[in-house]
Amino acid sequence: MPNSKDARSSRRSALMRAAIELSVVGGACLVFLRWIAPNYIAAGTNLGLPPAMLPTSCAVAIGLLAMVQFGCAVFMRDGRSGRDEVAQGNAAIVAGLIAAAIGASVLIDYAGLVVAGGAMTGLASILLGQRRVVVVAVMALAGAGVMLLVAWSGL
């Protein structure tokens, strides 16, 4: 019975994903409730609603919904708990582009808008697989040019 074996294996991995999802979302809620809310929301005055009321309610609601989501994954077999397939990604290019964007934004403070613009477009081109130096240089110059316009216009 290879089909039922496949189904069992697929269900096991779906349950595993649901458990990981619950631990990530629920864990984040617990971190918020036990650490962020008590330490980073001031008590406020005695007037009106406490400042922590809405954020705390939101975190509790998210935690409860995550548990219901997990419950749906455990008890519903017809997939009504929502799409569980996770698209294949390319972590390297995503991480590279995020790092390039962070690097460019740091450069704004240290080297100015123009250099940051050139670095962003040049690095992004390289990360997208461009290996011709002339094309990368043109992209970097064009990016720097756009930033030069922004800086010149005083925006």
């Binding site: 929301i41 001031a42 609603l49 989501q69 799409r83 996770v86 290019i93 964007a101 808008l113 697989g129």
Partner: protein
């Protein structure tokens, strides 16, 4: 009245006033197209420019800036998934998929025509119904506003995609993030982690640009890399499959445009709602009332018409409470008050008696501005549509650059850029695991107003829930909210 109308029209149709409107429209369109330059910021910068102008030319110029920035914001949203204005963020949902399908020009045309339509109808409503509608606005207290917000929040379910629970989690996470900053009642800091930049909360441009444009570019980059690995052609430029807009298309989107104009007018009249909430609400209503064959979220012209008609209907409608009772209905209207006062006019019920010629002149200028917007938008459209012909390998790096510029310009700090990148990363993860970034943004936009009205409502009702029954409008909205939850659950239960 006719005398005032005639003399007002002659003022508004003078070459100087028309040139001012035209200049305002061109400036507003540029502001709208560039991400990060918000409408209120552009207006605030433009007010001092009007010092030397006559009152009618000054107001006409500012009205032109406001109207055109609303219309121009759709361009980036449709072609690059980068909304020029937060209120254009909802236009991304269908505009960008249309552009990806090779129908960018059609989407731009619908955005322009729906913008002009919403704007014109709203202006006519302003002219004809300013006084009676303003009295309705006066009936909306905090209890009513809270119920409007709850009603709006229930629409999250309508937009939550395949999983209602994940959609709700995303929406509530949006509200949670919107609470960062100063507490609205006691002004004590919440979750600022010692950063002064967070006292004003998470910048809305950083959130919308990060969640929509930055996330989308990460996904596009992945796809581009995958197609490169598979040895597919690397040009990536999108060929336009159809540029023309047919009569059948117009007939199909007309009811949506009319309904969305109504939503925009309502959002403009009610102080505080503003164009962003108006556009999101209108999109949600259009999606909820979709007919078989409609493809909301996958590239439907109706989706573009819904958001743009509502967005552009907000400003003229927000002048209704301003002219009738002196209460601005939106941030843009509030900035216009300063321009009025600069030229010796105090908006309010007496303005019709004290400055009838100016008021009718402004009305005529607003209609002229709508027509100028159509002209400038139609000419610009041909130029803007060429963006879709640019290869993906060029588009992706430059959209990343625009994301950085947009979030940097809003508050002139790198902190906003880092926040935008962080939210972009969060949006990417959310999108991969089925959490809707759309509902996140709705929660984020609605959050501050919801909290404020909830707190005020609590004071008004002395924390007694039964007192809500004394507010029939609020009860009506709450029942409508419950009905929408019921309809959603019924739809979920129905076999697919």
């Amino acid at each position: 009245m006719l005398d005032s109308l005639a003399s007002g029209a002659s003022d508004a149709l003078s070459p100087g006033a028309i040139a001012a409107v035209f200049g305002g429209i061109v400036l507003g369109y540029l502001v709208g197209v560039l991400p990060g330059l918000s409408r209120p910021a552009a207006l605030a910068v433009a007010v001092p420019v009007t010092y030397s102008m006559s009152p009618i030319a000054a107001i006409a110029f500012l009205v032109g800036v406001t109207k055109a920035s609303a219309a121009g914001g759709a361009t980036g949203a449709i072609l690059l998934n980068t909304p020029g204005e937060p209120s254009s963020a909802a236009t991304c949902f269908d505009g960008y998929p249309l552009s990806q399908k090779g129908e960018g020009t059609r989407a731009l045309k619908v955005a322009l025509y729906a913008s002009v339509f919403g704007d014109l109808i709203s202006t006519l409503v302003l002219i004809l119904l300013a006084a009676p509608l303003a009295s309705v606005a006066l009936m909306m207290g905090p209890v009513e506003m809270t119920s409007v917000m709850i009603f709006a929040l229930t629409f999250i379910a309508a937009l939550s995609g395949t999983s209602m629970l994940r959609g709700l989690i995303a929406g509530i996470l949006g509200i949670l993030l919107s609470t960062i900053g100063l507490d609205p009642e006691s002004a004590t800091p919440r979750m600022t982690f010692g950063y002064v930049e967070l006292l004003d909360g998470v910048p809305i441009v950083a959130a919308t640009v990060g969640m929509l444009a930055f996330t989308e570019m990460l996904v596009q980059a992945e796809r581009y890399a995958a197609s490169a690995r598979a040895g597919e052609p690397q040009n990536g430029a999108i060929e336009e499959t159809e540029k023309r807009l047919f009569w059948a298309d117009i007939k199909r989107i007309m009811p949506t445009a009319v309904r969305s104009t109504g939503v925009g007018i309502a959002a403009g009249i009610l102080p505080g709602l503003g164009p962003t909430i108006g556009a999101f609400l209108s999109y949600a209503i259009a999606k909820k009332t979709a007919r078989p064959g409609d493809q909301f979220g996958e590239g439907d012209l109706k989706g573009v018409a819904a958001t743009e008609a509502a967005d552009n209907a907000v400003l003229p409608a927000s002048l209704i409470p301003l002219f009738a009772i002196g209460l601005p209905g939106s941030v843009s209207a509030a900035i216009l008050v300063s321009a009025f006062m600069l030229h010796g006019v105090v908006p309010g019920p007496l303005v019709f008696q004290e400055h009838p010629r100016l008021i009718y002149g402004i009305y005529v200028s607003m209609i002229v501005a709508s027509l100028c917007m159509l002209l400038v938008g139609r000419v610009g459209l041909t130029l803007f549509a060429r963006i879709s012909q640019v290869p993906t390998a060029v588009i992706i790096p430059f959209v990343f650059l625009f994301c950085i510029i947009g979030s940097y310009v809003e508050r002139d700090t790198v902190f906003s850029v880092v926040l935008m990148i962080g939210l972009g990363g969060l949006g990417y993860v959310m999108q991969r695991y089925g959490y809707s970034v759309v509902t996140f943004l709705i929660g984020f936009v609605v959050g501050p107003l919801f909290e404020l009205s909830l707190r005020q409502a609590r004071i008004v009702t002395s924390n007694d829930l039964t007192k809500v029954a004394e507010h029939p409008i609020a009860v009506g909205f709450l029942l409508a909210g419950l009905a929408s939850i019921y309809l959603f659950l019924r739809r979920t239960e129905a076999p697919r």
